[in-house]
């Protein structure tokens, strides 16, 4: 069973909630798929039991020894990545068109390391995670790798919780396709609603079972009502509503999951949401 937590908009509390749910689930494997801004692992002291290089793409390399400056490569490049015989690695998409037209065979593609991939053993189980090279591309493939690493440490009785990334692009698509359920965390703001609508459409597009969670629902009751109404119209179950709680910021800065703060309102609401999620998981498994 794989549950992916995503958000549409950044900063809505995805990681806080993914982590809280992982704490509440007994046996769980975590995958930090917000590879751009991986924050989940910060909460756990652990040991990296495996580290691998991830090659997410290729880049063109020109061997100056053979280059006659004929500019055929520049002409064919659709990405304006070659100028005066120099490849701009940030623009090159590694398609290899330049290698095909070079009469001197001076251009070749070189594999690019785009991330370090880790499996970290913590006292609270396995985390599958990555550290992307700053400015790298190809995070969709990387996420597929992280999910597959997580699966190696789980079986049908062990839940995998995936902390996804914001947005609707390739990392998010790679995080949700084939997942058993998606929990969208949203907040009651105008921008939260707009981004929620888009990411919900995305989940629908890929036909994934989708739940919603309205975080900080009480900062704008009217907006929270609008999101709730939108969910009802679209048959998305609001599985949790979590009140604004200063303890959440405290928990982040103390690097202690929110479920360990007894008096916290957010903690209580998340526990209730977990009960609801479990009920669904049980129903699916029956």
């Amino acid at each position: 069973m794989e549950l992916t937590v995503i958000s549409g908009k950044g900063g809505t509390g995805k990681t806080t909630i993914a982590m809280a749910l992982s704490e509440l689930a007994k046996d769980v494997v975590k995958a930090d798929c917000d590879v751009d801004a991986p924050n989940l692992y910060l909460f756990y002291k652990g040991r990296d039991i495996k580290k691998e290089y991830f090659y997410g793409g290729k880049k063109a390399v020109i061997d100056k020894k053979f280059c006659t400056d004929c500019k055929e490569c520049e002409k064919v490049c659709q990405f304006d990545a070659i100028k005066d015989g120099i490849v701009n690695p940030f623009k090159c998409e590694g398609c290899g068109a330049c290698t095909l037209v070079c009469p001197q065979k001076a251009v070749r593609l070189k594999e690019e390391k785009t991330a370090d991939v880790y499996i970290t053993q913590t006292n609270k189980g396995i985390i599958s995670r990555a550290q992307m090279e700053v400015g790298s591309e190809g995070s969709g493939k990387l996420i597929t790798q992280l999910r597959s690493n997580a699966r190696k440490f789980s079986d049908e009785n062990i839940l995998i919780i995936i902390d996804g990334s914001p947005g609707i692009g390739c990392p998010v698509i790679s995080s949700i396709t084939g997942s058993d359920a998606v929990l969208i965390v949203t907040e009651p703001t105008q921008s939260g609603l707009e981004d929620f609508v888009r990411v919900m459409e995305l989940c629908r597009h890929f036909g994934v079972l989708t739940f919603a969670c309205i975080n900080k629902y009480d900062i704008n009751d009217k907006m929270a009502g609008e999101i709730g109404g939108f969910c009802r119209e679209n048959d998305v179950y609001v599985i949790g509503k979590i009140p604004y709680d200063d303890t959440v910021m405290k928990s982040i800065n103390e690097l202690k999951p929110i479920v360990h703060y007894e008096g916290s309102k957010a903690n209580q609401a998340i526990r209730k949401m977990w009960d609801n999620i479990q009920e669904y998981i049980n129903r699916i498994n029956q």
Partner: protein
């Protein structure tokens, strides 16, 4: 002068800073966070013009194709697959590089266009506001960002980037002369700020930091900036009124206290990145 606004982490206030600052300094606003473009909610520009963003995709002429499979072999993105009876295209994986066309000996491949998003341009007073919107279900945002940044309006432009430090942000930074990093004083914000700093340093861009949701008790960002010799352009305190204004899509400079803060930031900005 193009100033990129980035953050490492989502939800730190990139859009709040970009939209409010653009009205204070009189800069055009360009929303490059094409997966979740939120700036227009606040600026609400008028006289919107729309333009499609299209990408190329190959079409195989089955009368000419001999099923040699060279096109599928050369495709680095696995967008083309040879089956027993035809060449299959996974159009969303296609980068439109034309490598398949180059290797096809039969001349069986031609290219057509399909829409993956739109660009919108409107006006907020004298300011030009532009944004790209990626269609839902499309994985690649870069072509939308590239088209959006192809021509800049004259004057100062604030580029509201996507969160993170990956290809979407890199493509926006290609066109920037300087950068503002927005962060928040939390363990998460700080962790991701360091990644953003590394990115702008790779690009050798002059940059400064704005601390949003500023909290006097937490000085980890200030200490770090001091040690790294990074300019702090300003600090925006958290207030419930500001959060409420944001949540209902209002500009926070409508609140006098915040207007003053943004004017201070604008002043500091001119000291750090002078422009005419």
């Amino acid at each position: 002068m193009n100033i990129a606004i980035l953050s490492g982490k989502g939800g730190t206030g990139k859009t709040t800073v970009s939209t409010n600052l653009s009205t204070i300094i009189g800069a055009n606003y360009i929303d490059c966070d094409v997966e979740e473009p939120n700036g227009f909610i606040f600026l609400n520009p008028s006289q919107i013009k729309r333009e499609e963003v299209q990408v190329d995709y190959p079409v195989v002429d089955s009368n000419r194709c001999t099923l040699c499979g060279d096109c599928a072999k050369v495709c680095q993105f696995h967008a083309l697959v040879r089956t027993k009876k035809d060449i299959m295209l996974f159009e969303k994986l296609c980068h439109g590089c034309h490598a398949c066309e180059i290797v096809c000996k039969q001349g069986a491949l031609t290219f057509e266009k399909r829409e993956i998003g739109i660009i919108e341009e409107g006006r907020y007073g004298n300011l030009i506001c532009r944004r790209g919107i990626l269609n839902v279900g499309e994985p690649m945002a870069v072509p939308v960002i590239k088209k959006l940044l192809k021509n800049f309006p004259t004057g100062i432009n604030l580029i509201d980037c996507a969160p993170g430090t990956s290809c979407n942000v890199v493509n926006s930074l290609q066109y920037a002369d300087s950068a503002i990093l927005v962060t928040e004083p939390s363990v998460f914000g700080f962790h991701d700020l360091k990644m953003a700093v590394q990115l702008v340093r790779n690009f050798h861009l002059p940059f400064g930091v704005i601390i949003n949701k500023y909290n006097a008790e937490d000085d980890r960002v200030q200490k770090y900036c001091e040690k790294e010799d990074i300019n702090i352009l300003g600090a925006i305190p958290y207030r419930r009124e500001a959060a409420e204004a944001y949540s209902s899509g209002k500009m926070i400079v409508e609140l006098p206290e915040y207007k003053e803060i943004f004017e201070e930031i604008a002043k500091r900005l001119r000291e750090v990145f002078p422009w005419n």
